[in-house]
Structure formats: C-alpha cells, structure tokens
C-alpha cells in the first residue's frame, strides 16, 4: 500500500508538472511546422496559428475562444510575448493560459505572477471602467514560439458586434475566424483587404480562413497600418427584434442614437434663459450659430466619463452646462439643447475619426465620435460655410478645439457619417478637402551681399483651414513660444540665422506671420563658383521612393498647397546660370511647378507644391517615383552664380 501511495503521489506530482507546462496540441503542431519555414529577413515574427471562435447565444451572451502561436524571429518580435486583453463590466476573461516553447520542444507555462491588470487610461479628465489584462511570458527571445489560449465572455448587446484582424504586418501561416449565430438570426459582414481570405458559410456558422499571408514590408509614403491591415467585422441580429439593439439597417442605428440622445438634449428653464441671454441681442442666424458653437466648443472643457451606460448615453444638457465639462456626446447634446432653445433643429451625427466605415455593416460600433448636424436653409449661410454642409445639414464638431462653425476639422474630411435624424437616414460622405482649403504662401524679399551674408523680409500667409489652425496656435501659444518655433523651423534650413521683428495679423480668411531674418553663410563657394539655393523654405533631401518595386499604395500626405515666392536682390554684376527656367512635374497624388527669371539684379523664384490627398495605387508607382525624384531635385535646386 505504501509503495502504491508513493507511486500515486509521484504520478500526481508528475501529472501536475506536466499539466502545468505541457503545451496544447495546436501549439505543438505550430512548433512542428515552424522548423520547415522560409522566413523573410525583415520579419520580426511569424504568426503560425491564429484562431478565434465566436459563439453568440440568443440571450446576447457571446463566448469568444482564441488561440495564437507566434514564432519569434528577432528581438523586435518579443512584443508578441505580451498579450493584452481589453476587459470591462461586459467582457470577462474566463481562461488565460500561455506557453513559451523553445527549440528543443521544452515548454514553460505562463506564471500567475506574470498576469497584471492595468487601466488603459490614466490621464486626468478621463474616467472609465475598462481595464486591460496583460500577460507577459518571461524569457522571450528569437527562436522561441509563444502561445496563448484565451476564453472570454461578453454579455449584452455589445457582444453582437465582433471583429478579427488577420494580419497587420508580419507573415501569417494560418488564421481562421469563425462566428456561430443562433438559428434564425442574420449576420452582416464587413471585409477590409481580405482578398487572400477564403470565406464559407455552413448554415449558421460563418468561416473565414487565410493561409500563407506574405509579409507586408514597411515602405515610405505608405498609408497607416490601420489602412493596410486585413480584417473582418461582423454584426449579428435577430430579425424579429429589429431596433432594440438588433441592427440590420442604418436607419435603425440612427433611430437608436436619436432615442438615446433625445431626453438628454432637453433644455431646462435655466438653460433656455442662459441661451437666450447669449443670443437675443444677435441679429443674424449666422451670429447666433457662431455664439452657441463657440460656447459649446470653448466653454465646455473636454472631460470624458465613460462608465456603464455613459459610454453611449450623453449626460443631460443642463448637467453639462452646470459642470462646464463633457465629452463629445455631452458637448453635442448641450449644443443641440441650446439650438433648440432658440428654435433651431439639430441632431447628433455619428462619425469614425480613425477607420473607414463599412457601409454594409450597420452598427453603432463603427463610430467613435459624435458631432452636431444643424438643419438650416441652404441659402441662409455664407458661401464659405458650404464646405461644412451635407444636404440640409450644417455640421459642426464642438470637441475640435480649432475648427470654427462653417469649417470641418480636416480629420473628418472625406469620412462617412450617420446623421441620426428620424427618417431617410443613410450614410453620407463628408466632402473631401481641396488643397486650396489648406493653402500657405511664403512671400520673401531677400538681399544677398557679396560676402555671402543675406537678409530677408518674410511674410507667411495661411488661408482657409490652415488659417484656422494658425489662428488657434497663436491663441494658445505665447508670442515668445511662437518666435522660438519659427526660429527653430527656419534654423533647420538656414543654420545660424537671427530672427527679428516677429508679428502676426489676422483677417477673416487669412492669417499672416511676418519676420525678418539675417544670416552669415547662405551661399556656397566652391572654387570660383558661387552656389545659391533660391528657395529659403526648403532644404535638399534625397528622394524617398527609391525601391524598384512597390507593394503598398502611396500617399504623399493630406491635401495642401504651398506657394513660395522669393525675390532676390543680387550684388551688382552677379548673374545666375539658369538652365531650367520652368519646370513642372506631377502625378495623381501631387504636383509641382517652378519658375525662375532674372532681370537687372533681381532673381525671381516661384515654386508651387500641391498635394491632392489622393491615395495612389501600386500600379501608379512609377509615376509617383518620378515625381518624388523631381521633388527632391527641385527642393534642393541650386543656381550657379557668375561673379565679376
């Protein structure tokens, strides 16, 4: 008996030990496969196995089970040894296990000590009830495989929306996403860049599978990784419960938002009085809108309380008015209440500031921001405000600190929005910015002395939305800081300069910044030659698009137009050799134009650079590459001067 007992104890201990560290079969298979892999040298890791099974019940309780195994190739890939799981009162971790598996097959389990819970937000003015469970495997180094197994449970209607990312940058050997919904329910899907992903439907089970997704290289002038990632989102609903958090069409989402915001947007007597006291003396609709918009934007500081239902439901407008703080939906609701108090109809407008909204997936979870839609007759507003109009609605973002009424913040431009009005609600696209909306003109009169020193009077004039940003920057930055920023910027191109006489001026449609600069070393002397770079505002940069081939789209940047005009007074009898008096180059994403002329002792230089903001596809790469090369050459353009 004793012998048996000892054997039994040893077996139990052995079992416990092996239970503690033995990796599951799927991880073991990943290890087996990894030995025969050819890996791209730039990759820091390979996703060997990534699986998520989502099971939604008719009680809106969702179980999410995930497995992931990653082979670490370089130390940069060690971050895969850390798993971060967002949790909240609706989302609970039911199981979390991890393993680190070495080349020899030995495995160590994730110790309990290596699991912590942190708050995603610790900054002042942000209150929420979310956390992140972080599990970090110890001893992660190149050559090992890290594996995690997670089971989550999500309660409530938020669980009807789910998403899965197949790939961001690293290569993926196998990834699968499966969603099972209750019988009789429907599923809508949104797929982003999922060309290589196979989809099949097996009754009420929806399955996406991807194999051997190639590494996505880092390339210059590429869109963000959010854009380049491959992902699927789903929205499930019970057709018999339309509305009531089961969304099958956009009008249902709009109705939900409208219902949620309606009560909070009711003004009490005090709010009505306060609003009227601020607007009664104003004659025009434009002035009243301006006053209310400015109040919501500037008098209500941004503080987000996103606890429980306050994640979606705004606070009552009178409370926001009293507190003088609120988040985007609170500010929107207050502004609506104030507008209603003077008889102007306004609604909440949902928007996503980070991701493109998939029009095939009607769900509130595609939005992360709320702004105001004001119904006003088209002809009642200035022409300049038309950029912020869509249909009958004038849009305004009271959370954005910069854009004034009649202007749209540029991160919202081109976005899809949902106007939460009662009828005929569809997704609409906001107008995309024109480069002329973001226009800057550099106007310079410069004098070059024969000892190489120079002086210049500079005016920088910003128009449109760029003027709005400049106005805001001048408002919040003291003069000394503005001077320092300009000096620092100019010093990057013209080391050792002195900046004096700084001043600013603003009109309704433009902001002008002026100053004088002086420097000792502007021209280059090379032997008997004198070299002058006529454009003070650029410095030579090598081209960025140098690779022969391209995988990702190309994006030169947001829409903007920059005009530089420099009038140089040269020393007497100095003449430039101008071999390129006019030059133009362009592609669908950008264009440039330069002109140089010389008369008397005056050298007149003009340069235009315009970015359209348009995304260019990889087949347009040769044109983009040529343009980039021309841009590099023109920005550093140098003239040879003949001296007596």
């Amino acid at each position: 008996m004793e012998g048996f007992r000892e054997l039994f104890i040893a077996a139990c201990l052995g079992g416990m030990l092996s239970f503690a560290s033995a990796q599951p079969d799927w991880a073991y298979n990943a290890v087996k496969q990894s030995s025969a892999l050819t890996v791209p040298k730039e990759a820091s890791a390979i996703i060997m196995h990534k699986l998520t099974e989502v099971e939604i019940s008719s009680k809106s309780l969702t179980k999410i089970y995930s497995q992931i195994a990653v082979k670490i190739l370089t130390s940069a890939g060690s971050s895969f040894g850390v798993m971060s799981i967002p949790v909240s009162p609706f989302v609970e971790v039911k199981k979390l296990k991890g393993w680190i598996i070495k080349h020899d097959g030995s495995a160590k389990a994730l110790p309990a000590d290596n699991i912590v819970t942190i708050s995603p937000q610790e900054s002042a003015g942000y209150y929420d009830d979310s956390h992140i469970v972080v599990a970090a495997l110890p001893g992660v180094e190149p050559g090992v495989i890290v594996a995690f197994e997670i089971a989550l449970e999500e309660k409530g209607w938020t669980s009807l929306f789910n998403s899965f990312t197949f790939q961001i940058q690293e290569p993926v050997k196998f990834a699968q996403y499966a969603v099972t919904i209750p019988q009789g329910w429907d599923l809508l899907k949104g797929e982003w860049r999922t060309g290589p992903v196979q989809f099949e439907q097996q009754g009420n089970r929806y399955l996406w599978t991807a194999r051997d997704l190639a590494y996505q290289p880092e390339e210059p002038l590429a869109p963000s990784w959010d854009f380049l990632s491959r992902r699927v989102s789903v929205n499930c609903f019970d057709p018999s419960k339309k509305g009531a958090h089961h969304f099958s069409q956009w009008p249902e989402v709009a109705q939900w938002a409208n219902d949620l915001h309606r009560q909070a947007a009711a003004a009490d007597q005090q709010l009505i009085r306060e609003t009227r006291s601020r607007t009664d003396s104003l004659a025009t609709l434009q002035e009243k809108l301006r006053a209310i918009a400015a109040f919501s934007q500037k008098e209500i500081r941004y503080v987000a309380v996103e606890i429980g239902k306050e994640r979606w439901q705004p606070r009552p407008a009178p409370a926001t008015f009293f507190n003088r703080y609120g988040d985007c939906k609170d500010k929107t609701t207050l502004m609506r209440a104030m507008l209603e108090a003077i008889g102007i109809n306004a609604v909440p407008v949902l928007v996503n500031t980070e991701y493109p909204v998939d029009p095939d997936l009607p769900t509130p979870f595609q939005f992360n921001h709320c702004i105001v839609g004001i119904r006003v007759p088209q002809d009642s507003l200035p022409e300049r405000w038309q950029h912020a109009r869509i249909g009958d609605w004038l849009l305004f973002d009271p959370t954005d600190e910069v854009a004034e009424i009649g202007e749209l913040p540029w991160p919202l431009m081109g976005r899809m929005v949902l106007i939460a009005a009662n009828a005929d609600t569809v997704l609409l696209q906001l107008p995309y910015a024109d480069p002329e909306d973001f226009r800057r003109v550099y106007h310079t009169r410069a004098r070059l002395n024969d000892d190489g020193s120079f002086s210049a009077d500079v005016d920088i004039i910003d128009y449109g939305s760029l003027a709005t940003y400049s106005r805001y920057s001048q408002r919040i930055n003291p003069g000394s800081k503005q001077v320092e920023e300009w000096r620092s910027e100019m010093a990057q191109k013209l080391p050792g300069i002195q900046l004096e006489g700084f001043r600013t001026a603003a009109s309704e449609d433009s902001v002008t910044t002026s100053f004088s600069i002086k420097g000792q070393r502007f021209i280059q002397k090379a032997g008997n030659l004198v070299l002058l770079r006529p454009n003070l505002f650029y410095s030579p940069e090598p081209p960025r698009l140098t690779a022969e081939e391209r995988q990702h789209p190309i994006w030169f940047g947001p829409p903007i137009e920059i005009n530089s005009e420099v009038l140089w007074q040269l020393p007497e009898d100095w003449t430039p050799e101008i071999d390129l008096s006019e030059f133009e180059s362009g592609c669908s994403g950008a264009l440039l134009r330069s002109q140089i002329s010389f008369s008397g002792s005056l050298l007149h230089y003009r340069f235009l650079e315009r970015q359209t903001g348009r995304l260019m596809w990889p087949d347009e790469y040769p044109g983009a590459r040529n343009y980039d090369k021309d841009l590099s050459a023109i920005k550093g353009q140098t003239l040879l001067l003949k001296t007596p």
Binding site: S75, S119, A124, E299, P495, A526, L580, A633, G636, Q637
Partner: protein
C-alpha cells in the same frame, strides 16, 4: 440615573469638543480675497495660464509608530485662460491597503461670488494596476463649473505608512505662497522607551535652495521644537529643458528625514567618518574568509610592477567571474556572502566583483580603497544629507602625490582606469580603513572616447550611392556599442548593430554589418550601405550633395536661451575620413571651402582635397567636456547647430569629355 445621565452628557460633550478641536486643526478653506482675484500674469515673461496662489501641506507623523503618517494637501489656483482649465482635473494615485485617501474636497469660485462645490459622486476611484500582491488605485476628479477666469481649490488627506520625506515647491506653474508644516514623531506610543531611543530618531531637514529660498522656522520655539514650518514665496514655474541634470538636482527642495542626534548635530565630516566605519565593516565581513582569494591572487602578485598586477587582477575578474547584474534572471543565482564564494562560484554582482578586486589589491599590498558614487542621471551626492545616497561602489588605487586611479571591473566592458560615464564629474566619497575624503571624479577626455570612421562612397548618376564604412571606437563610445550587443546571439546582434547604424543613416538600406571586438582593444564595426544622395543636374554640371549623414546630430538645441546647466553623456571626438568617387563620366570642377571653427565647445573642422578622381573629406568634431553652465549655452548651441548646414555642401562636377574617360 441622573448621575449616569449627566456623566454620559459630560462624556458626550467632551468627545464633541475633542472632535471639534480635531477638526479645527484640519485644513479648511481660507478666505478668498480681492488680491487673489487680482492675480495675473501681466508681469511674467512666460505665461502659463494659471498661477498657484497657495499650496499648504501638513505632514503629521505623530503616529509614525503605528505606520500612520498623514499628509494634507491644500491648493488654490487662479485660472486665467481656457487651456489652464486642465488644472481642474486632479489625479491622486495610491497603493491600496498601504495608503488611503480621505476627505477630498473641492470647489470652483466665480467672480460673481458663486461657488460650485465638488460633489461626492464626481470623485472616482479606480484600480490602475493590479498584480499579485500589489494594487495601485487612483482617486480622480474634475472640478465643475470652471471658466477661463475663476479660482479653484481642493484639498485632500492621504494616509501613508511611512514619512512623506520631501517637499518640492517648484511646479509647472508659478507658486505665490507655499507652506509645509512638518509635525514630526515625538515618541507617541513608545512611552518610557522614547527617552532611550529619541537620540536615534531625531528629525532633520535639509534645504536645497536653488531657484528660490525656503525659510524654516522651528515652532513653538527652537528650544522645544514640536514642528517645523517651511515657507517659500514667489516660486517661478519649473520648465524642464533637454539634456539637463535630473530634476531633483535642479530644483529647490526640502528633504525631511529622521537620524541620530549625533548625526544631526555633527558636521559633515564627522557623520561620514562614522558612516565610513560602518560601511567598511561590511566590506571586511565580506572579505573573509579568503583562502581562495590568496591562491588566485598569487598568480598576479608575481608580476613585475604594480600596474601590471592591477591590470592582471582586473582582467582576470572580468573574464572569469560572470557579472549577474547585467542578467535578466539575476534572482536565480544564490547570494554570495564572501569574496571566496564569488571566486568559487564564478559569478557575482557588480558590487561583489568590485569588492573582490579590492580584496585582491589589499592581498597584494597595494594602497587602495573604496569609492562610493552616485549616478548623475539620478541625482548628486549631498554631503549635508546624512543618509546613504550612493548607487555603486568602485575601487581606487592611491598614488603618491597625485589623484587616485579609479577602477570598476564590476561594470562590464570598462577598461582599467575607466569609470562608467554616469559617475564621471560627480562628487564621491572615498575611504580606506584609515582615511576618508571627498573627491570629484574627473571627466574622461574627448580623445579617449573617439569614433574614427573611414568611409568610401561611390555615387551613381541617379544619386544612388554605395558606402563602405569602417568605424573604430574607443572609450565610452566602444563600451556603449559593446553593451548594446551584450549577451545577444548572432541574429540579435545583427539586429542591434543594424539599429545602431540606421540611427546614423536613417534613409539608408543596410547591406552587411560586422563587429570585431577583442578584450582591451578598440571595437571595429564594418558595414555597407545603399544610400540615396541628393543630386541635381545643372546644364553640363552635376551638383552633388553627399553629406546628409554628416548633418545628423545626436543633440539638438532650438531654444534661444537656457536657464539650467546641461550635460552630455561624455566628452567625445568624431573623426571622419571620407573618400568619394564621383559617377563615371564626370570630373571634379569645384569643391566646398574648408571650414575651421575653433569654438570654446571644441574644434570643428572640415577639409576637402582632390586626389586624382577622388575627393577626400576629413572632418573633426570634438566636444571638449560634457558638463556646461547655462551661461555657456550660446557657444555650445552654435557648435551643434552648424551640423545641419553640412547637407548643403555641394561638390560641383563637370562632364568629362576626355578620351581617357570615354574609354571607361
């Protein structure tokens, strides 16, 4: 019954009075005056949008014996512009179970007399970090009703298990009036024993006046002090600047601690003499038994000359004793209790290795001692602060009539007589069994920390260039690279080296990289890059600008003026020898002018020479010392700010129509 009732009543009255008395001592709102409303920034050179009118802190450590110290903080802030309303959002982190936040109050005051209080439901409590055995929480609130012309104030009380320790009156915004009241521990709960131990737990305060002066007052009197009142007036805002010493070195602060009466009353030297004896006793305990030490040292002792003995011992320790301070799993090793265990087990911490080295020198009869140093990125050694401040222990060799030579075999990849750069320029405390002294460790010289690059650049007509580079690094430069590659396998090392190279050549594509390192010799780094060069066709000429990589600087200075001293890691020298081969079919027409700048910060030279079909460029950049006072800012700034202009330097090429070139 009546008697009981009246007794009860008396007790109730007594308790009420007691509580009233207690609450009378709690901080309450102070009257807001017209002067407070008149506070503005009109006369200040730099605007912050807010001014702290009052900060009052009371640290009550009377109950220290029960691990209950109370700190009450009261602040009143004048808000002057919309951006300053962020001061109405307050965070108070605390460690759950060990600390407690009590009695949070707040209010906003408007010019029209209205007062908007902070409601209880507007105070949030959240866990921000939870791990095994540790929970950190945070109480936070946003004061309601703020406008861009108002006054806010808040107060709260925090209970700590240990004394607060310090007061930093310098804030992000100006402070008009600051008070810190320290009610120190005076024996509560110790009863009779306090008179025995009071000499060991005397309150002591050290005031570091830098920007402003903290006044101190002992209350009720100097003879019978029960508390200390520290006050400060008109404290300008603290604005951090890049490359500064740590904030605790720059800022005015009061350090409050308990020590022995002897220490409080003694001068600095007396305190450190006594401390030295205690510290040395620790070493002596570690240094015995030493049979293995004697055996190991015998091999070096027979070498001729003191220098060779020391270097042999030094290199032996670095090669034969694994330094576990640099390992992630240091705690997996058994703790050594003696020098013999270090030698027997073949591993030790930095401190243990240095103790072993010292013991070896002692064994060989070499006059030597221990050096206690601070790391200058963490603070400085303050003689008057009579408590242990040091971050590491080094070893010195005493030299007759000269400065000591300092060693640290316990710091990886240091050569003999080299000191970690963190300790260069710092005041240290050196001791032997018989003596002690204060000694400022000198900075290493620029030539000792040299990077010499030989570059060969071949440029194609489209601007693509291939660069072959050989870098030779010495001193601290070499050590930094060695540390970056420490304990990495082949792939990790390649990755670390690639990162090192890409920092200097951000737009280049690395083709190959190789590191050659031999103990005691300079480090050689060889690599090959594909690098885009700025090139412009101008008629029959080609304008080549290949110096973009030379324009990269490790340090950038944009501000016009400087308030605080600034420091770099160490003095250094960079020497570049660049050979440029222009594209085929082009010959050199003109080269940029040579540049010679001998500024106080150090020489800066750039020379161009044509040799046949190649251009030779040599550059010398030397930063003469790492530490500078604010008054020297302009010259050092100019020294670095000239760097970006290097990318403008242009080589002018002309088409080579000679028959010789046609044949190429």
């Amino acid at each position: 019954m009546e008697k009981i009732q009246s007794t009860k009543l008396l007790i109730i009255v007594f308790l009420v009075c007691l509580s009233l008395r207690a609450s009378a001592k709690e901080l309450t709102w102070e009257p807001v005056t017209a002067t407070d409303w008149e506070v503005n920034e009109d006369t200040l050179a730099e605007k912050h949008g807010a001014i702290m009118i009052i900060e009052k802190i009371e640290a009550d450590e009377a109950d220290l014996i029960n691990r209950k110290c109370y700190v009450t903080i009261y602040r009143r802030i004048r808000i002057l512009n919309p951006e300053a309303r962020k001061w109405g959002d307050v965070l108070i982190p605390y460690i759950a179970k060990h600390q407690k936040i009590e009695n949070i109050q707040g209010r906003t005051l408007l010019r029209d007399g209205r007062e908007i209080p902070l409601a209880k439901e507007q105070i949030f409590d959240k866990e921000i970090f939870t791990a095994e055995g540790l929970k950190i929480k945070q109480k936070s609130f946003s004061l309601p009703g703020l406008t861009d012309d108002c006054i806010i104030e808040y107060l709260f009380k925090i209970r700590l298990p240990q004394p607060n320790g310090a007061w930093d009156p310098e804030k992000e915004i100006p402070l008009l009036s600051g008070e810190y009241t320290w009610k120190f521990y005076r024996g509560k709960g110790m009863g009779y024993w306090y008179s025995w131990f009071s000499e060991l737990i005397s309150p002591n305060w050290l005031i570091q006046n830098r920007t402003v002066k903290i006044e101190s007052q002992e209350l009720p009197s100097k003879k019978k002090t029960e508390k200390v009142l520290l006050t400060v007036r008109n404290v300008p805002a603290f604005k951090p600047e890049p490359y500064s010493p740590p904030e605790n070195v720059l800022q005015t602060r009061a350090i409050l601690f308990y020590g022995s009466t002897i220490d409080v009353e003694a001068d600095d030297r007396a305190h450190w003499t006594r401390s030295a004896a205690d510290i040395y006793a620790r070493y002596e305990e570690f240094a015995k038994p030493n049979t293995r030490l004697a055996k190991t040292t015998a091999a070096f002792d027979s070498l001729p000359g003191q220098r060779s003995k020391i270097e042999a011992a030094y290199r032996w320790l670095q090669s034969n004793v694994k330094n576990i301070t640099y390992l992630e799993d240091e705690e997996e090793y058994l703790k050594n209790t003696s020098v013999d265990e270090v030698l027997e087990r073949g591993y030790g911490t930095r401190e243990e290795i240095n103790y072993a080295f010292y013991a070896m020198l002692q064994q060989m009869g070499i006059k030597s001692g221990l050096v206690y140093v601070v790391d200058r990125d963490k603070g400085e050694f303050i003689k008057k602060a009579k408590y242990w401040q040091f971050h590491r222990i080094l070893v010195f060799e005493a030299l007759a009539g000269g400065d000591p030579r300092i060693y640290s075999p316990g710091d990886l990849y240091l050569s003999p007589t080299q000191v970690p750069w963190l300790n260069e320029g710092t005041l240290s405390f050196i001791q032997t069994k018989e003596m002690l002294a204060f000694y400022t460790i000198p900075f290493s010289k620029a030539y000792q920390n040299r990077t010499h690059r030989s570059l060969a650049l071949s440029v194609a007509e489209d601007g693509g260039a291939t660069v072959e580079i050989r870098e030779k690094l010495t001193g601290q430069e070499a050590r930094e690279l060695r540390l970056a590659c420490h304990q990495l396998d082949f792939d990790e090392r390649r990755e670390a080296l690639a990162n090192w190279v890409e920092a200097a050549f951000p737009q280049a594509r690395l083709d190959s990289v190789l590191l050659e390192e031999t103990a005691g010799e300079p480090v050689i780094l060889k690599y090959r890059l594909f690098y885009p060069v700025s090139i412009q066709q101008a008629g029959s000429r080609l304008l080549l600008r290949p110096f973009d990589f030379l324009s990269r600087v490790k340090y950038e200075f944009s501000a016009e003026t400087r308030r605080y001293p600034f420091q770099f890691d160490y003095a250094f020298e960079q020497v570049d020898s660049l050979a440029i081969k222009p594209p085929p079919g082009w010959k050199i027409e003109a080269l940029p002018k040579n540049v010679f700048l001998f500024k106080d910060a150090g020489p800066w030279e750039l020379q161009f020479k044509e040799t046949g079909q190649e251009i030779l460029v040599s550059r010398l950049l030397r930063l003469s010392k790492p530490y500078w006072e604010a008054a020297d800012y302009a010259k050092v700034r100019e020294f670095f700010n000239i760097q970006p202009s290097l990318k403008e330097l242009t080589i002018v090429l002309q088409q080579d129509n000679s028959p010789a070139s046609a044949g190429k």
